[in-house]
């Protein structure tokens, strides 16, 4: 007997036919099914369908929950502290008697640690992605990619330990004035943590560039370096940039490394050698204390959370857009 020829399932068309002719009404042959049983079966099928749809809706409820929770506490906060003070104050002292809420203090620390991380992750990640996609033999690729996954799977608290107790003492040996908590060590280690993300996404984009573009350049006498930097990278640019933006988003949202190694002192500075406090580290600091719910200090963590949420959402959306544009071009 020959297997029936079925096309690989084109998703939309398939699902459409399946709903147009639901197999629910088919009866098993050679068995008399009472009408009642068929009705019961149809009802059970419908119940299962609803239950499964509900599982899907849980993810929507999660998003709605996040937005509502953040929004609710944020509105409460801005009833007591005007928005312009939140944006323009140059001090962050919500736990003192004289309360100041200049989010720029926390944002500058997040900016500083993220920039340091990106200075590590972007050049190293892109270089490595070019090497894996354009130069390395397939076998090397097969070994390196899983190892990078291991690097990405290390819990961030472990990186925090490494930054505070290995990298910082190392930096102090070179430059003794550096403080025990500093943005530099946290940023550097965070950069290493983000490398796998940049490599994996950039490499996907580079690898997807059609071979005929490379062949054309080689036929004109270009070297491997010229092909990589003047043909493949520009062709994959939107995909590569998308991976950078996702790296920024990851760095901004990263918590444990900065909470452990960068300190918890809200300083408005771009000096990488002194303690600072990022937005995420502030949330951790307040959560560790015994802040009663409903107080202004308690609301601040939601305001900072909202800022963080909007920032990462914007970055992620931008990145997804770029990836989609890249796909449309080559697929």
């Amino acid at each position: 007997m020959e297997a029936p020829v079925t096309e690989p399932r084109p998703d939309p068309a398939y699902s459409a036919t399946m709903t147009a002719h639901p197999p629910l009404t088919l009866r098993p042959p050679r068995r008399a099914v009472a009408a009642g049983a068929a009705v019961a079966r149809a009802r059970r099928e419908r119940l299962i369908h609803i239950a499964l749809a509900f599982c899907g809706i849980v993810s929507i409820l999660t998003t709605a929950g996040i937005v509502l929770v953040l929004l609710f506490e944020t509105i409460e906060f801005f009833r007591e502290v005007p928005l312009w003070r939140f944006l323009t104050d140059l001090e962050w002292t919500p736990l003192f008697a004289d309360k100041k809420f200049g989010v720029i203090v926390l944002a500058s620390a997040t900016f500083l640690t993220s920039v340091i991380a990106l200075v590590v992750a972007i050049p190293v990640g892109l270089m490595s992605a070019i090497y894996l996609s354009e130069v390395a033999p397939r076998r090397v690729r097969g070994v390196v990619k899983p190892l990078l996954e291991v690097l990405a799977g290390v819990p961030t608290v472990v990186y925090g330990y490494f930054a505070l107790l290995f990298v910082t003492p190392l930096l102090q040996r070179v430059y003794p004035d550096i403080s025990g908590f500093n943005a530099l060590s946290a940023g550097l280690v965070m950069g290493v943590m983000i490398i796998p993300l940049v490599v994996s996404l950039s490499e996907d984009a580079l690898f997807a560039v059609p071979q005929n573009l490379r062949d054309g350049a080689y036929a004109l006498g270009a070297t491997r370096l010229q092909v990589a930097t003047r043909v493949v990278v520009p062709a994959a640019l939107s995909g590569v940039v998308a991976s950078f933006i996702l790296a920024v988003s990851r760095a901004v949202g990263e918590t444990m490394i900065v909470a452990i190694a960068a300190g918890q002192s809200p300083n408005l500075t771009l000096n990488p050698f002194v303690p600072v406090e990022t937005m995420t580290a502030y949330i951790v600091q307040v959560s560790l204390g015994d802040t009663p719910t409903g107080t202004l200090e308690f609301k601040t963590i939601f305001v900072v959370g909202m800022t963080l949420f909007l920032l990462t959402l914007g970055l992620n959306t931008l990145s997804h857009r770029l990836v989609r544009r890249f796909r449309e071009r080559y697929e």
Binding site: P4, T6, E45, V69, A136, V157, A259, V284
Partner: protein
């Protein structure tokens, strides 16, 4: 165009340099990983002992241990799996086998992609408000149940994405054959598609859960304790008891000034990495067995 011998040699040198730079860049991450592992194991391995595994935290570093944290992590892991697995797989089945490319499906898909990018600490804020405050009568406040629900929401997008991939890999001819025999959609799904996809689904779920085991920030934010000197009851009431987990215990020890606690932190990290390694190995074994069969 005629290229001189010298020019050609210089070109070759540039290309060689470029390849070397690429190789070096690729090694950066791997070298750091190696240094990290050597550093942590060098600091922590001598501290590992039966006493360390079976003691509660203490003010004296040499008496302290990770019993409460280890049990708390396992407890949290099981509860998270019990919540995230059925709902995550249910959502994946809905998206792959049931939904009809309508607006709901599109909204859910965009939503899952966005959720996967939300920083984990934000889930902690959600858990704090929703599970600790609003649902206090059920969860009992800052309890292991509230923590597990928070973690379940955090790993759900990863479970859904992995389960969808596994379901998509099931050959369509199998579905057609079952429908041809008169099976209903649920019969096809539950007796043909899901069993065939199960190893893939389990692999993805284990990897997602291993992320939950390593997470610290959301649990600190929702208010898990940092000092727990008891074990939660293995009962329904135990679900409402306060808890701590291994990463939080490690964080607590790293944050203290005494070097003795830093050694404890390193030993705790060794245990955490071993747990993660075991989970990943299980996932890989499952994946390999699955690949051999098909």
């Amino acid at each position: 165009m005629i290229t001189s011998e010298a020019h050609r040699a210089s070109r070759r040198r540039t290309v060689r340099l470029f390849e070397l730079a690429g190789l070096l860049a690729t090694c950066v991450g791997l070298v750091v990983l190696a240094v990290l592992v050597v550093d942590v194991f060098g600091d922590g391995l001598p501290r590992l002992s039966w006493q360390f595994l079976t003691s509660y935290p203490s003010r004296k570093p040499e008496d302290a241990g990770i019993l409460a944290a280890l049990v708390g992590s396992l407890w949290l892991l099981v509860l998270t799996a019990l919540v995230a697995f059925p709902i995550g797989v249910g959502a994946a089945i809905y998206l792959e086998e049931y939904s009809t490319q309508g607006r709901l499906q599109r909204v859910i898909e965009i939503n899952i992609a966005n959720l996967a990018g939300v920083p984990s600490i934000i889930y902690g804020l959600l858990g704090l408000e929703l599970f600790v405050r609003i649902m206090r009568p059920i969860t009992g406040g800052r309890s292991v149940l509230a923590g597990a629900l928070t973690m379940a929401l955090l790993v759900m997008p990863i479970v859904i994405i992995a389960a969808r991939e596994a379901l998509r890999a099931v050959a369509d001819s199998q579905r057609q054959a079952a429908y041809a025999l008169g099976a209903t959609r649920w019969q096809v799904t539950s007796r043909v598609v899901v069993p065939a996809a199960l190893p893939g689904i389990l692999t993805g779920t284990i990897l997602a859960l291993s992320r939950a085991v390593g997470e610290t920030a959301p649990l600190i934010t929702m208010g898990a304790l940092t000092y727990v000197a008891f074990l939660p009851d293995l009962s329904l009431a135990g679900l409402q008891s306060p808890f701590t987990v291994l990463p939080i215990q490690i964080f607590n020890w790293v944050s203290r000034p005494q070097p003795g606690f830093h050694v404890n932190a390193a030993a705790g990290i060794v245990v955490l990495l071993v747990v993660l390694l075991l989970m990943n190995a299980t996932a890989i074994i499952l994946r390999n067995r699955y690949q051999r069969r098909t």
